[in-house]
Symmetry: C2
Subunit: 563 residues, 2 copies
């Protein structure tokens, strides 16, 4: 390994780039390591920006994870901020950089080049998109501008109901603004399945946020008396003082493209498992690269901090000769990116929403048909200990062998924990049988002897083993089965599905003859437990039954208002 005097240049000093630089130094004291960043800061906490706008984080300095001085003093790494890399000369192994303050350009030679340019917020070319009062949020200066604008504002329009859009919404409400969210999809949080996002919409409405789903922004104009007028695709006009564009991000791949590096079909830089681009001396990491989804196998753009950091470490290890094909397994794992499962979480108005692995939508997009799903609504801890709150969960798994494909959860407590456990199991190639057997923390204030993760695994295992057959809520209107409601009378009074036959579980053994034997019966209760008991009984009695997963609570997620 002749890396003694390697010169490693890194384009972009946030997340992946910064991790790469620090890891490279730990592996090689004699290398020269230089970071270039277009912006005024490196290694800042971009995930914290919405909370800086909301004044939850009060000091801008708190967002600076590391400064150029720290890189210099701790790591002997040079950082050039406000310096743009304008061209890669692959033949000469040089880059052209421009000092944005002086305007001067110079060339810098590299042995290894790492591209970590990140992504930029999408700004659609709409009339008025560049008006004052229209913002995106990607950088500390962006957040500073929004903070200033918020001071004189009383209304905000958030365009895009994804993770960042909702975090901005919460923080703008926190600052006292009336907020309207416009989202093109029929649901908030498009990475989730619609029924899992519906409690989020309800929560936003409870906090007086106006939602405009299935609408896009068409134009913005300045109003004579100040403020903006936004027009949406449905013809509606919305008055606002500021508009935040949170439509999504686009990889900053121009530098790579102009250098002739291969891009993927989604416009991100193509890399191999060692984060190497099509040029053997150039690596790329972070939001600008395409990564493999470990569940569906498809290539995706997944702009998340965790994967970016890991990619940076892997690029550094590879550059410094770790983990080649002949290396030991422990070394190879240091220099191989396994892909992403896109674990993500969002908190909004005390509600937590999290996902790992594939959604049902993404399975369908990927053409994966042999999957099954369960819904459940366990408490965050046992009901007999005060303070539990429900977690609405959805688990997706292979209907053939029970392999975990993905999970989503929404609730006020314990959501991150359950999704993290399932994320770990998914990573390890786990099945629903593994979830069933998981031995997790239990004391009354922390969970249940059958943790929500266990229960999800048990229900799913019943399906894979053939002990339980599920119907689909989506087919309720199509199939028009006989519906059997096995809840108690008091529950039925609060709402039920029309035309359901009602026999409480405790009366089923003596009343089951009331049911027809020539028709498929779809059973439901409040959450799915009693209907499971009913299912086992009726199946053994020879009835043709299927269960509506997750019971009436799931129905309410599919039909948030009323039927």
């Amino acid at each position: 390994m002749s890396d003694g005097r390697k010169r490693i240049l890194i384009v972009g000093g946030v997340a992946g780039g910064a991790s790469c630089a620090a890891r490279a130094r730990r592996l090689c004291e004699r290398c020269e390591i230089v970071i270039f960043d277009r912006g005024p800061y490196v290694s800042f906490a971009n995930c914290g920006l919405p909370y800086y706008v909301g004044d939850v984080i009060e000091e801008e300095e708190a967002l600076l994870v590391a400064t150029p001085e720290r890189f210099r003093d701790r790591f002997d790494i040079q950082v050039h901020t406000e310096t743009e890399v304008t061209r890669i000369d692959r033949g000469a192994r040089e880059i052209e950089v421009r000092d944005l303050r002086s305007g001067e350009t110079r060339r810098e030679a590299y042995d290894a080049l790492v591209l970590s340019p990140g992504a930029e917020a999408v700004r659609p070319p709409l009339p008025g998109i560049d008006l004052p009062g229209v913002f995106v949020l990607r950088t500390i200066p962006d957040s500073r501008r929004i903070r200033e604008a918020v001071q004189g504002a009383s209304r905000a329009l958030v365009v895009g109901g994804g993770f960042i859009g909702l975090e901005m919404t919460e923080n703008l409400v926190r600052r006292g603004l009336d907020v309207t969210v416009v989202e093109l999809a029929e649901q908030l949080l498009p990475p989730l399945d619609p029924e899992m996002a519906s409690p989020v919409a309800a929560r936003l409405r409870e906090h007086a946020v106006s939602l405009r789903l299935r609408q896009s922004l068409e134009s913005l104009e300045e109003r004579p008396d100040g403020g903006l007028l936004a027009r949406t695709s449905s013809g509606e006009s919305i008055e606002t003082d500021i508009a935040i564009l949170a439509i999504g991000v686009r990889p900053l791949a121009a530098l790579a493209r102009e250098a002739g590096l291969e891009l993927g079909s989604r416009g991100g830089i193509r890399v191999d498992e060692q984060m190497r681009t099509s040029d053997p001396d150039i690596w790329a990491v972070g939001d600008a690269v395409e990564v493999r989804d470990v569940v569906t196998g498809s290539m995706q753009l997944v702009p998340l901090a965790g994967p970016a950091n890991r990619q940076g470490r892997i690029a550094a290890a590879t550059i410094l000769g770790r983990g080649g094909a002949e290396a030991e397994p422990r070394e190879r794992s240091a220099a191989r990116f396994r892909g992403v499962q896109a674990t993500a979480i969002c908190g909004v108005f005390d509600l937590t929403i999290a996902i790992t692995g594939a959604s049902e939508k993404s399975l369908q997009r990927a053409g994966i048909e042999r999957y099954a799903k369960v819904y459940l609504h366990p408490g965050s801890h046992v009901g007999y200990y005060p303070g539990a709150s429900p977690i609405h969960m959805k688990l997706l798994f292979s209907s053939e062998d029970g392999r975990i494909l993905g999970a989503q959860a929404v609730g006020e407590a314990g959501v991150a924990r359950r999704i993290d456990v399932i994320a770990m199991a998914l990573q390890m190639g786990g099945t629903v049988f593994d979830l069933e057997e998981a031995e997790l923390c239990y004391a009354p204030q922390f969970g249940a002897a059958k943790d929500p993760v266990n229960v999800a695994g048990m229900i799913a295992a019943n399906i894979v083993r053939g002990d339980l057959s599920l119907a689909r809520w989506e087919e309720l209107e199509i199939v028009k089965p006989l519906l059997l409601d096995v809840r108690d009378p008091a529950e039925v009074k609060k709402g039920q599905l029309s035309e359901a036959v009602h026999i409480p579980l405790s009366e089923l053994r003596r009343r089951h003859e009331e049911l027809p034997r020539d028709r498929e019966i779809w059973i439901y209760c409040a959450e799915g437990q009693r209907s499971y008991y009913a299912n086992r009984f009726l199946t053994q009695k020879g009835y043709r039954v299927r269960n509506l997963p997750g019971g009436y609570k799931t129905y309410r997620q599919f039909r948030p208002k009323s039927r």
Copy 2:
């Protein structure tokens, strides 16, 4: 499978027994299923009893998970409470039962018998142990008696500083009592390693709890003016109004033993992976059986609710012909108990303590020598978002291949989540490299781009890969190495190890020549991150260095007061 009319008798209707009964009914509608319980209740929430004493749970009924009526109505299961099973006639496949109210005895025939007798609280044969005012806590009537006694009491003695003892301590303090805890070991929470339990002792002292470690109760006597006088092994006398014995539990194996069933070396009933005893028609589940520790391979008594429930399900499945040797894998997992990793959690005065897998003590007891350990002290979420609190973590892993052996954590937030993730990884046979790569939930209020689990994996992976060599705090006084403190001056002022050389990390590159090359240097900082950077630098410069894991914060766990 001729289980059509099987008669399944279950001895003990809490946790394992109740789960077994319900599962058996779901699998077999035509079986006759009967539960016998000595006590007045079945299926009650024994984990909630300390909180009922503490009035956190206000209503006794909340503790009743299921009643005999519910078993009858929902499951067609007969429950006989206050009915003791006094003898098993294996030859006749009958049991002898006594109705404790009428005193009458009768015989009941079985096709399959399931023993779920549980365990009883240990009451050592000490003078005064049966005095009024001396209690154990295993049942609802126990808790009722303690609640009554608490009313007139101002002082309590808790004998035993394990999980139940500490939960009782917290709840008695909550009720306004002055509490003294007597514990035979040198530490609280004996399943944990001592340095991981030390923050718990500190927290108890902050709440004015008196601790008597390395002491046992010798005797109790009534004081003339009322109340009790306890004498301990150190000769101390402690005045108290009530005493709670929380010394541990002992399996209720007498019925099995008298029937000639095989017991294990720890006095529990011996069972196979299908929970079958040495008699092919008798199964046993729950606190009374010995189970295999999946990490050390040793047989243990692990009285926990989660495993008991799973065992009950497995016994039912086996009885009803599921999962034989020729079954499909999905069926086998339904009828095979994989052993325990003894995941456990305890909350006391807003501090959470959790463990999964082996402790260092249990590895040593099992003769497992090729392990390594790391300590870390990450925040429960990123530092730039308000409200994070530290989690003190210890990860144990194979120093040969990185396989996870166990983990412990203590902190105010996020503890259960991290231990659960590691528990899942351990269950799947995961390594520290898997933890390093885990893709977990991250938003600023929920974690970090490098989650504590990732960081634990990264540090451990550095060790297994040979990038970092650790020293042991336990050997500090023996080896007497040169100590290098790389913290900043302000931190050093607040306390440091005596005779440490102090060179802040940021000055190390220009000052390293001050260090000797002929002596081993042990580096530390506050938590271990900066010392890792220093280690990588000094190693590459040719110094002989090792790091003190987890830095000064770990030192404080080993030496809780001062050096």
